[in-house]
């Protein structure tokens, strides 16, 4: 026998199910509730731009978002918690922290993850982040990621592409990125973009040409230059480029773990030809 999680709700919804089916349905219901808790430790700015820097191809988003946080001296304002994340914490300044944290300034919120988000949690993450963005009347969700290219070594200035949740955002790009018209986006950013489109939350995903499984500070710099242009900021990327070798080495292990998760989510699907029909 299983005890109902929410007795009245379960009975109401599964009135005609027998006991076994009721238990299966209930466990499913419980698992659906196992998403992320967003813990706010300081007030979150309303109508802000939300930047996402999750571990991805070339760690472009993570490196770029880290640089934004340090350059603009953003304050830590919260974290994302989930019992389904790997059992780990990160120590910063000797204090235990969640590996998925939220930083904010006057009109900017940055979500950054210092751990690879398991594939099974990507959908709850996208849903919960968009719901939270809506509750804060977020003006724009701007996700930063990489787009692996085979000849990355031969590219001096990585090009930035943008996937947008609605057509009118094209003008918002201010020439910083070329709009992707067709293709696949695999992973958290694809799900986020789709969820934003459904919820009418304006969203842009910037994908910068990068190495697939090597940390790419140069690509992160190119991504930041696009962010500067879109948001009218002037974040200096010279320090990021100067410390390029150190950053590549420091993030080697993170890249290795990210690569394993990218393989699980079939990231290579992104390099398939676009669908035949729009």
């Amino acid at each position: 026998m299983c005890e109902p999680f929410n007795y009245s709700l379960i009975l109401h919804e599964h009135w005609f199910l027998d006991q076994l089916e009721g238990c299966v349905a209930m466990s499913k219901r419980l698992s659906e509730k196992d998403g992320f808790r967003i813990v706010e430790t300081s007030p979150i700015p309303k109508k802000a731009v939300m930047i996402n820097g999750l571990p991805d191809v070339g760690l472009v988003g993570l490196l770029a978002a880290s640089h934004i946080i340090s350059s603009l001296k953003l304050e830590e304002v919260g974290s994302l918690e989930s019992d389904l994340l790997p059992p780990m914490i990160v120590l910063h300044g000797g204090i235990p922290k969640s590996p998925v944290r939220i930083f904010a300034g006057e009109s900017l919120v940055v979500v950054i993850s210092e751990t690879v988000i398991p594939v099974s949690l990507l959908r709850p993450l996208a849903n919960d982040l968009v719901e939270w963005a809506q509750s804060n009347s977020t003006e724009l969700v701007l996700s930063l990621g990489g787009m692996a290219v085979a000849n990355r070594q031969d590219i001096d200035a990585p090009k930035v592409f943008a996937a947008i949740s609605e057509r009118k955002l094209e003008s918002r790009l201010n020439g910083a990125a070329e709009v992707l018209e067709e293709g696949y986006i695999v992973g958290a950013y694809g799900l986020l973009l789709r969820r934003c489109a459904e919820a009418s939350v304006p969203a842009i995903t910037l994908l910068t040409q990068s190495y697939y499984n090597y940390p790419d500070p140069v690509a992160a710099g190119a991504s930041l230059n696009a962010v500067n242009r879109i948001l009218g900021l002037s974040i200096d990327v010279s320090e990021l480029l100067r410390r390029g070798e150190e950053i590549r080495l420091r993030s080697k292990d993170m890249m290795h773990r990210t690569q394993e998760e990218l393989a699980k989510m079939n990231k290579a699907h992104e390099y398939d030809l676009p669908p035949l029909y729009g």
Binding site: N213, E245, E246, R248
Partner: protein, 120 residues
């Protein structure tokens, strides 16, 4: 692709850090194309003159590269760990037969690219 276990495996930390040999295992990638196998290896802090390749067996490529300077855990932010490294070392299994006598390499932006023609 898998790296080949070496006798020193037990000395490796999870980050591929061989304390005894002061070596670290670099990130690498392998692509098998119709006519060749293309390997890339990420080698920050390396000068291309320091890169050495050898094939100890038909299906293994070994890469050695000294770093331009000694690098410690501490400077990479791990104050609780002691150790340093001065070279990269990787033994990479080649999944298909190749002609190692026609190996071709180039080094750009700190990434080594190795081309090995496939045997027909």
């Amino acid at each position: 692709m898998e790296s080949v276990a070496s006798p020193e495996t037990s000395l490796y930390h999870s980050s591929g850090w061989n304390v005894a040999a002061a070596c670290i295992e670099p990130l690498h990638n392998i692509m098998v194309a119709a006519t060749e196998v293309v390997l890339t290896i990420d080698l920050p802090y390396v000068d291309q003159k320091q890169v050495k390749l050898r094939c100890p067996a038909n299906d293994i490529l070994e890469v050695y590269a000294d770093t331009t300077r000694k690098i410690t855990f501490r400077e990479l932010g791990a104050k609780h760990r002691h150790g340093e490294f001065t070279c990269y070392h990787a033994r990479i299994r080649i999944p298909v037969p190749v002609d190692e006598s026609r190996i071709n390499k180039h080094f750009k932006r700190g990434v080594l690219e190795v081309h090995l023609p496939r045997l027909r």
